[in-house]
Symmetry: D2
Subunit: 158 residues, 4 copies
Amino acid sequence: MSQLFKLKTDLRVFFEDVDAYQVVHNAKFFCFFERGRLEYLRHLGFVDEGPDCLRNLEVVIAENYCSYKKPAILDDILTVCLRISFMKRSSFQFQYIIIRKNSKELIACGYTTLVCVDRKTLKPTGIKPGVKNAVEKFEGDDLGKNTGIPEIKISDIL
Amino acid sequence: MSQLFKLKTDLRVFFEDVDAYQVVHNAKFFCFFERGRLEYLRHLGFVDEGPDCLRNLEVVIAENYCSYKKPAILDDILTVCLRISFMKRSSFQFQYIIIRKNSKELIACGYTTLVCVDRKTLKPTGIKPGVKNAVEKFEGDDLGKNTGIPEIKISDIL
Amino acid sequence: MSQLFKLKTDLRVFFEDVDAYQVVHNAKFFCFFERGRLEYLRHLGFVDEGPDCLRNLEVVIAENYCSYKKPAILDDILTVCLRISFMKRSSFQFQYIIIRKNSKELIACGYTTLVCVDRKTLKPTGIKPGVKNAVEKFEGDDLGKNTGIPEIKISDIL
Amino acid sequence: MSQLFKLKTDLRVFFEDVDAYQVVHNAKFFCFFERGRLEYLRHLGFVDEGPDCLRNLEVVIAENYCSYKKPAILDDILTVCLRISFMKRSSFQFQYIIIRKNSKELIACGYTTLVCVDRKTLKPTGIKPGVKNAVEKFEGDDLGKNTGIPEIKISDIL
């Protein structure tokens, strides 16, 4: 699997996730992306324990995109592969590919653009230096490359 | 409000729609888009009554995009304005703007690209002629214009 | 329909509400109950406008019960009929019946027991006198009768 | 932890699970119960792989009950402990307690009564002998005891 996407987290498809066509509902993929983001932040040490665990998450979502490749069904184990694809002064972007774990099929890909804000005024603020440094270290030279809709080569998956 | 978006449907934000920041959750907007699509199909006469009401909906979603402009909160009445922006042989696109009804503020905009398929094989099929004709009549000359992320002029909203 | 349930509010079943069996998902009924509670509070004048609209809702849910009678499907219009069945010092109970609007069939019934609390300590507080008086006036002599799982006579529905 | 509840499965609370009060939404607990049921059936060998995995789940839910003890918050690991508390000819009941894994606090308890049905007619059918035998073997002498709202002794949890 592509080393471009440096974090991976697995999830199981539950009955509550599937729709009347017995496939994962289109909106649910954005929840799967969000779970990936939380794991990413946890991996870098920015999720606190207890009721204040949201303290480091002063962001709003600017845009969300998902391209659906194959349906996922009940009980599938999906691997969310994700990376931060760019960081500007106050905005940054997560990029995702979702793979069916056992068959290695590409299920979906997408991205989310977020903006660091002051939660009260909703005005943009700079990304905190501690977060910026940790992401730069984690993503390395790939930061700033291949942004927006992920370009995926078949060799990245199979 | 813009005549480009020829169908409008209102919805109220319920407690189940808002997240820990007390704003509508990012994934929920894709449900709001979907409710708009159902109203659009109903308006054109393609939603049957009873258990077979899904019969005319042999489509899969190819991609979903949402740009978030301002937060929506509990109890807001939102107006989903939508149109079909293009139709090809088997794919077509819905485009949306969501407005806070009482303040006329732009809350979000987005689009969904769908593909008519055979539900069993998931192979693309042509859009049914009856649906195609009804959409062409309803959308008129605007069909095929301003596709993808909606370009919105302030005069379209205020 | 029974005059025991003094408030009624309609809702439409959306695609996001139905599960893989093409019927409303079992957990969703508790959201429908919740929408009914908000309408009840609005009807009595306890829902403020704007971001502070939750200000009068300093309650936690102690228990939730639903009995499922017939499946509801996509596009159904459901009528949530509800009442406050008892009020004690700090706890009170909502009771519901859900009817399919056009066929008058009983779909579900249930109840929710809530407790007024201080949001910070989660300690019970007394029900605010203004709320208590308004509910007593609205419910009249039926308050305190037929609590818990609703006893429903067929004449209440048909 | 009580040996009365013979199956346990852990889950993490995601951002999509919490409400405007930053606690797990009341309806979501019924999804957590449902995830437990699927794990129970998988443990006993009744969840098939692939698109037909629902084949052995020809049941409808008759009633659902949850008693909320303490709030669960984002990122909590919850342990769903569950058992089948009774089996009759066509109906049976799951009973649950949900524990916060690290603190061993009781978060919620509840039950679900289900009925085996023919999916087309919705008429009750007998529980399949293979399922009945497997459950009797798994639950042992506790089957039929302590049904409905679970009676929980503090020693069952701490």
